[in-house]
Symmetry: C2
Subunit: 557 residues, 2 copies
């Protein structure tokens, strides 16, 4: 069954099998040209530019590298390297053969990549255009929906479509249903019709219904696509700054029970179903200016940690599904963490690299928010939960902060403190558009104001608990027992119910397209994926392509 092999998320353009990245001044072209035989696991062929996780891992890598390695790029044309087909969406045989957890994790990652494309357009000044030189169906059209503008070739055969419902009995679950009405403002009844019509819609009707922005005759295709890309590039607010940074391959070692990077390490305890993740703070002060950051490149602490955390999250999610609890610790010098934050904060409105590092932190923390694992932060002496690293504790479902010190270990250690920094006050919003602090104190303006007032202070356990910044502050005598119970208890609960609980509690307050996709849409899709009408022996996913009709239980639920 798909989903049994180890998945590695690190890649680079030299290794791509499915995408071609070409840069021409301010315009990059990202051409999807999927190798049919290049599936991540055996058992299916990636026909018609259909994709699996491996294809999407390359796409994610390309989007990331465009941000850091091609600062000159202001517009990205997403197109197909094949004639007549842009992309047929997620590979159906792969989906049909996949375990439920694999399908769900695959969809989550593809969603995050598409959100990252929108983030690049909105915040990085790299505007994505979908140049549909052939039919975009299902996930193919959903990929286009993540772009700022959609051009469709007008050749009487190329269409956009969402055939998931009529053909497969599932939803367009990679943001499709949400973006059609909430982003592109397609009228809901037209959207209903469109999403039940497997043959799709092209030409002028696709424009009139707002499914695409423009249809272009094939004879003028190259010309118009180039023109639109140049227009986008000329109006994109990409920040100036230094030369490109090379995202050198991460230094990572993995054993059966540990994953280690330069600043981040994780030890895996399979019996207790827990990963203990330690993030180490900077070992030196930051450079005096951005020039020094360019000099350090990908080795700059803030960037390096974001990359390591990002890879670790993806690795654990895909490969360690039974490790249900992640415990976060930090170690190091809080002042240096805050100094790194300050340097980025001072430059993120004027320098592309500072901006990109901040955006990368934002996206990485968002991954945590939608990760279906229980997150617990342990704040102990020697830790450095300050500013950007404090976000790890604020992202956690619960936090424990030691009151006092461990008498047996180091009675003379300075007790743990945490510090709210500028990074916690607006720089790193969650998917709901609010900071983690604002979400935490949703409906409690006084509580939030008190925390903001305490920014910059090294807060003891007592102070942090009183301000509502940590959940519990046990002392040395109670610590081991309380933490042990929290972790063991978590492992004793239904993993499904925990996933649902966490998905609800982490997102108090307002909703956005992003939270609607991860909340409403994903939850429905998970349910539908799991029902026999889709995944049973006679379900639509299994029946597709066999010539047999799916056999549905007709009861409406």
């Amino acid at each position: 069954m798909v989903g049994m092999s180890h998945v590695e998320f690190r890649t680079s353009p030299a290794k791509y099998r499915h995408w071609r990245l070409a840069v021409d001044g301010p315009v990059a072209t990202l051409a999807m040209d999927v190798d049919e035989q290049g599936g991540l696991v055996p058992g299916y062929e990636l026909k018609l530019n259909s994709y699996d996780l491996g294809v999407d891992i390359e796409l994610y890598d390309a989007v990331q590298r465009l941000r850091f390695e091609h600062p000159e790029v202001k517009a990205v044309v997403m197109t197909s390297g094949k004639d007549k087909i842009f992309c047929a969406g997620a590979n159906i045989r792969m989906l049909a053969a996949s375990a439920h957890s694999w399908k769900v994790n695959f969809c989550k990652f593809t969603n995050e990549t598409r959100n990252g494309i929108e983030d690049a357009t909105e915040n990085s000044g790299q505007v994505y255009l979908a140049a549909l030189n052939g039919t975009a169906s299902g996930g193919g059209y959903e990929l286009a929906l993540a772009c700022d503008r959609i051009l469709l070739v007008d050749d009487r055969s190329s269409v956009v479509s969402l055939p998931e419902l009529p053909l497969l009995g599932v939803l367009p679950g990679t943001g499709g249903l949400t973006r059609v009405v909430d982003k592109r403002h397609v009228r809901r009844d037209l959207a209903d019709y469109f999403s039940t019509k497997s043959e799709g819609i092209g030409g002028k009707k696709a424009v009139a219904w707002k499914l695409v922005d423009e249809v272009v005759p094939r004879v003028r295709w190259q010309e118009v696509v180039s023109e639109r890309a140049r227009d986008s590039a000329s109006s994109a607010p990409r920040l100036p700054g230094g030369e490109a940074i090379e995202l050198a391959e991460l230094d990572k070692s993995r054993t059966d029970d540990s994953i280690n990077y330069t600043h981040v390490s994780a030890s895996l305890d399979r019996d207790r179903a827990v990963a203990e993740i330690t993030v180490r703070g900077p070992e030196a002060d930051p450079p005096a200016s951005m020039a020094g950051v360019y000099g350090q490149g990908a080795a700059f602490w803030s960037l390096a940690v974001a990359r390591e955390l990002d890879d670790l999250i993806l690795d654990l999610r895909a490969n360690e599904t039974e490790i249900g609890t992640w415990v976060f610790k930090t170690a190091g010098d809080a002042a240096r963490v805050l100094a790194h934050d300050d340097l980025l904060l001072a430059n993120c409105d004027s320098d592309w690299l500072a901006r990109e590092i901040v955006l990368y932190w934002k996206r990485t923390l968002k991954r945590l928010d939608v990760t279906s694992r229980s997150l617990i932060a342990l704040i102990e002496p020697g830790s450095c939960f300050a500013g950007s690293l404090l976000e790890l504790a604020l992202a956690a479902d619960r936090s424990y902060m030691l009151f006092g010190v461990f008498e047996d270990i180091d009675p003379d250690a300075p007790p743990a403190v945490i510090t709210v920094g500028p990074a916690n006050l607006g720089l790193l919003p969650m998917g709901n558009g609010q900071t983690r602090l604002a979400t935490r104190f949703f409906g409690d303006a006084d509580g939030l104001a008190a925390v903001e007032k305490a920014a910059g202070e090294a807060l003891t356990a007592e102070e942090a608990e009183k301000l509502g910044l940590v959940t519990f502050a046990p002392d040395d005598i109670d610590w081991d027992e309380e933490v042990r119970i929290a972790v063991e208890e978590r492992a004793s609960f239904s993993p499904d119910a925990l996933t649902g609980l966490e998905a609800n509690y982490r997102f108090a307050g307002p909703e956005t397209i992003e939270t609607k996709i991860f909340g409403r849409l994903t939850a429905w899709q998970n349910w539908i994926f799991y029902r026999p009408n889709a995944s049973g022996p006679d379900g639509a996913l299994r029946a597709y392509g066999t010539g047999k009709r799916a056999d549905f239980d007709r009861k409406r639920v």
Copy 2:
């Protein structure tokens, strides 16, 4: 299996087995005193004030009657008729024995009733107080969460709790997770702890964590509850008006293939899996003033139709799960529909009955919005889709309006028209806080403005289609074929995927607590309910009370 018998939603206080309703001037007391042997279907005992659908049907009836039959009531104390227990939530043996569709439908109805309690508090000037004279666990606490204020007896044993996750491996799915953080503003990490601690929280900690508003020693209990109820009553903005209206039993006849009321009828076509629902407009002009409406009482057309539609929706949902498509038609005089709307509109800010009828329409239409059936409106000559009845077409997933007339049937008939009335422009918001028109034209301010400008005009099919008010306007030649395909196609699709599609497309735009409950929370709960970890032979729901531990698949999804 639970869920096989026919469910009737009509009841009245004289028939209650589980609730006692007492009215003392402006304060009503609604005491839950569940008859253990009074389960709706055999197979379980309703111990500890646990509830099943039958208990909730009575609660719904009581809330409705308080609105219409007790206009003098301004505060409602929800309490328990039993010592030491307020309510233990949904009956677990009932849940364990229930079909998935039954569980989901049961939760939907209980959610709607709790939303109705909040609606009474916010909009009717009937403020609900939860007087927890004993432990409120699970759905019992969720019922309290729907009240404006929660009082808990402080006796060292009474607590509030959400033990669903630790004990049953499911979510508190009747709004619990959403209301805890979004309504009561419990901090998310405390909420996490609370919802994993099966023994619950009482006393001062329950107040400090905002789980309840007040704890009261038993010795002062009656006194304080009365005082708070009087305070609520004295500040409640209940409108003045005439005497109470009696909600006389609906005149309903049901055969295997039809359900008929005075103004509403439904014919059920099981082969095609479709119900054709016809709503007939008023046969006379409305009374000149509200005095005449009081004279007609429950027979007043607007109120009668709301009651009939409400009962029909509930009946079809519970009893006809395989009828996946509802086709709405209307017949009658549009001017009279609009005149009825106008009378209500002119008085709904000054007269309680006018207000209540409008609110009832609002709630009934909201039921449609969350109904997991495909809704299609057919607009034909002789119909009266205007104002309040036009909402049926706006709630539909698609609408078809005949262009011209049926040449073979009545070539001289006036062609169908629709009319946007004041009722469509703010009186009847959806759960997302927006009108159906605003949701339909989300992101299209010009489109909405054009429709608003056309208010009051009798719009032909051509005009309605151009304005985006109907989906398609086929002529006589194409009508039968287009409509037939739409209905047959719907029956050929996966019912699960349709449910997910509709739940997403119907709610473009902003989200509220209500839409979060029906979208995010419900969807997760449905998924969890369906997973073996909850409902499998070794799942937590089945294992509960047997002494066996649930056997979980530990994979996180």
